[in-house]
């Protein structure tokens, strides 16, 4: 679903947007502003990954979560403000394309979910060293719902739905980092088998030119990957290490808050492809 489907009456306004200040100033230096957008994503990525991995119980575990948050909060703000501001400017200069892009819709949903989860749940929980307040729980539920809505939108949109493999890859890697001992090797072996099976299934069993069968095959594999990753994530949250670093809810907030920014970045990239 594109913004044009959601807000059809905005078409004339969007059409004229590139002639409005500062869009016509931005357009000739579009690439430079794009670089600013990517650099903001990098700053946000580093800060968000380290803070939320700490909530999961990996990464900078030699410092309390509150200390990690204290050191990274400025860079979280810089990253998010940078992404929003540079995004607004390059968006104005490229409005018509975004207006007709389903990937842009997903990106905006992910951005909203990312802000809610970061400022409503992840940051307050880190600041309180893992204590989850009632308001953090409410924001977590709202943010999670918006995130899942964004995932649903990505999966059901034609041409951009392969982008869900970015989220699956990121989730697979986080679980790999967070899983320990023999379970990590079992998990990794399973992932490798699935990757090999998907390659064989979409190159040998189903030919690359057979689009009618290729699409459902890839979708089926996406579900199997998701089940494998979620299964091990669930085992890590509820079944493993009784004295684990953080409570399941805190770890779940960490997982989802990383993935929501992955979704935003991935959807942003897929604007260029479809």
């Amino acid at each position: 679903m594109t913004p044009a489907d959601l807000f059809p009456t905005l078409a004339p306004w969007v059409h004229n947007l590139q002639n409005v200040w500062p869009a016509y100033v931005i357009k000739p230096q579009f690439a430079t502003w794009e670089v600013l957008h990517i650099l903001s994503l990098v700053v946000l990525g580093g800060a968000s990954i380290l803070l939320n991995l700490r909530l999961i119980g990996v990464g900078v575990t030699n410092e309390p979560a509150s200390e990690v948050h204290r050191n990274l909060r400025l860079w979280l703000h810089v990253g998010i403000i940078g992404v929003v501001l540079s995004g607004l400017l390059i968006g104005m200069a490229n409005a018509e394309r975004l207006y007709n892009s389903a990937a842009f819709t997903v990106k905006i949903i992910a951005l909203v979910a990312g802000v809610i989860l970061t400022y409503g749940a992840s940051a307050p929980i880190a600041r309180a060293d893992g204590q989850v307040s009632a308001s953090a729980k409410v924001w977590w539920l709202i943010g999670l719902a918006v995130f899942l809505f964004g995932i649903g939108m990505l999966v059901t949109s034609k041409l951009i739905n392969p982008g869900v493999f970015h989220v699956l890859t990121a989730a697979a890697l986080i679980v790999l980092f967070a899983t320990h001992g023999r379970m990590r090797w079992i998990y990794l072996a399973g992932l490798l088998v699935l990757i090999a099976a998907q390659w064989l299934g979409t190159h040998v069993v189903v030919k690359q030119t057979d689009f009618e069968r290729l699409d459902p095959t890839n979708k089926a594999f996406a579900w199997v990957f998701a089940a494998w990753i979620l299964g091990f994530a669930g085992w890590g949250l509820f079944g493993a290490r009784p004295g684990a670093a953080n409570r399941p809810l805190v770890q779940a907030v960490g997982y989802v808050t990383i993935l929501v920014w992955v979704l935003a970045a991935a959807a942003g990239r897929w604007i260029a492809f479809a």
Binding site: A31, I38, L39, V42, I49, L50, N71, W75
Partner: protein, 214 residues
């Protein structure tokens, strides 16, 4: 492009022509090389590009935090060694992903990248960043025990962090500019860019801006 009818200008270009047009090519008139198949794949190319960006968020985002610690800006109470020990495995993993996806992207369009001034400049800054890592590892870090817990590490460590930040900033910026065709071979562009991109050897040739204007 005209494929294999190039006249042969140097070993590297010849190798890249072979890589792009011949490597992995089967029989038959419509057979594609592996490079062409990768570039033409409906979704895999997009997934590779997206993964390159996401890996960059992990790699550059985490090295940036370590550099800020060395500059005395963030994690001032945390020993440098303790932070590095926890963050650098993520950075190294991110770097490996960036390299693997970057090589695959290069493999899909080797001649385009070979004749691209931004790509060539990116490689220079990449080399600079890697030399800086080696210098930091073998020289700057040798006496880390003396300044590990200092909020503000010595000038040599701060200089190394500043070089690292600048080099990666340039690598990212130049990497993004590769996508733009401002200075593509065959277009009327300044002479020095034609030389820097080795346009004379490209299938599009070199067109000097000055000659066109005159």
């Amino acid at each position: 492009m005209r494929g294999t009818d190039h006249k042969g200008y140097g070993v590297i270009r010849n190798f890249l022509v072979w890589l792009q047009t011949e490597f992995g090519k089967g029989g038959g008139e419509v057979a594609q090389s592996w490079s062409e198949a990768l570039l033409g794949s409906p979704n895999f190319w997009g997934l590779l590009e997206g993964t390159h960006l996401l890996s960059l968020m992990l790699f550059a985002g985490t090295i940036f935090v370590v550099d800020l610690r060395l500059l005395g800006v963030a994690f001032r109470r945390t020993p440098v060694s303790a932070l590095s020990e926890r963050v650098l495995p993520l950075t190294v993993f991110g770097f490996a992903m960036v390299v693997v996806t970057g090589l695959a992207l290069f493999f899909a369009k080797p001649l385009v990248y070979y004749h691209n001034i931004w790509f060539r400049a990116k490689l220079i800054f990449l080399f600079l960043a890697l030399v800086n890592i080696v210098v930091f590892h073998y020289r700057v870090q040798r006496n880390i025990a003396q300044w590990d817990t200092l909020a503000k590490p010595p000038a040599s460590a701060r200089a190394s962090a500043a070089i690292s930040l600048t080099a990666w900033l340039c690598v990212i910026t130049l990497g993004r500019f590769i996508a733009y065709d401002w200075y593509e071979c065959g277009k009327a562009i300044p002479h020095w860019i034609n030389v820097a991109e080795d346009c004379a050897a490209s299938e599009f040739g070199a067109t000097d801006l000055k000659e066109v204007v005159e």
